[in-house]
C-alpha cells in the first residue's frame, strides 16, 4: 500500500495521453489547481 495516493501526500502522475493527442503528467499540472475526475465509459 506504500504507493497508494493519500490525502495530504504529493501526487505523482506518469505521462498519459489525451484525446486530442497531447500528453500530461504531474509536472504539466504543477502550478495550477486540478480537479482530477476519474470516469469510465461504461
Amino acid at each position: 500500500m506504500s504507493d497508494t495516493a493519500r490525502v495530504g501526500a504529493p501526487f505523482s502522475l506518469p505521462l498519459l495521453p489525451t484525446l486530442d493527442g497531447a500528453a500530461w503528467d504531474s509536472e504539466a499540472l504543477r502550478g495550477t489547481k486540478v480537479l482530477l475526475f476519474m470516469w469510465g465509459s461504461w
Binding site: 501526487f11 495550477t32 469510465g40 461504461w42
Partner: protein
C-alpha cells in the same frame, strides 16, 4: 487523459468510478471522494468552489473498502490487467478476458475490471448506448456464480481462501 493501463486506479486503489480528487498548485492531494463524485451533486460542487477560493476544506469522505489486498495480490492483479490489455491489443479477446477474470477472482469487488470484461465480451450492451438493466442482471448472475465457486461468501467478497490467505480484510473479518 486516457488511462488504458489503469495506472490511476491502481495508484488510488479504487474499485469504482466516478471519483474526484483535488490537487493543489504544489501537486499535493487536498481532498478526494471515491465513488459517486458528480458535478451534478451540489455538495461536491461546493467543495470544488471552496477549494478554488482557497478556503479550508472539510475532511474527505471516509473510504470504506470491503477488503484490502496485500502487496502480492495487488501486483498480481495489476500484472494480469496489463497482460489482458496486451492480448486485447493483439486481437486475442478471449485470452484477454481470461486474464482479466483471473484478476477479478483476486479482486471481486473491483468494478473497473468487471466492466472491462463486460465491454470486451458484450460490446453490444455498451455501444451505442449503455444497457444498465443488463448490467444489473449480469452482476446478479456473476455474484451467484462467485458464491457457488467459493470466491465470495455470504458476508461479501472475497473470502480469504480465495486470496491464498494473503489479503487483509478491512472489515467483517471472522477471525
Amino acid at each position: 487523459m486516457i488511462d488504458e493501463q489503469g495506472i490511476l486506479s491502481r495508484r488510488f486503489d479504487v474499485k469504482v468510478v466516478p471519483n474526484g480528487v483535488l490537487l493543489d498548485e504544489a501537486g499535493t492531494i487536498r481532498w478526494a471522494k471515491f465513488g459517486g463524485f458528480s458535478i451534478d451533486n451540489p455538495e461536491d460542487v461546493a467543495v470544488v468552489e471552496r477549494f478554488l477560493a482557497g478556503e479550508d476544506l472539510e475532511p474527505s469522505p471516509q473510504r470504506d473498502p470491503p477488503y484490502v489486498l496485500g502487496p502480492l495480490e495487488r501486483e498480481l492483479v495489476a500484472t494480469k490487467l496489463r497482460l489482458g490489455r496486451v492480448l486485447l491489443d493483439a486481437g486475442r479477446t478471449a485470452e484477454a478476458v481470461a486474464a482479466w477474470r483471473e484478476a477479478l477472482r483476486l479482486d471481486p469487488e473491483n468494478f473497473l475490471i468487471r466492466k472491462q470484461i463486460w465491454v470486451a465480451e458484450h460490446p453490444e450492451r455498451f455501444f451505442p448506448t449503455i444497457d444498465f438493466p443488463w448490467q444489473q442482471e449480469q452482476l446478479a448472475a456473476e455474484r451467484a456464480r462467485e458464491l457457488a465457486e467459493g470466491i465470495c461468501g455470504p458476508d461479501g467478497c472475497p473470502v480469504p481462501a480465495a486470496l491464498m490467505g494473503n489479503a487483509s480484510p478491512a472489515r467483517g473479518a471472522a477471525g
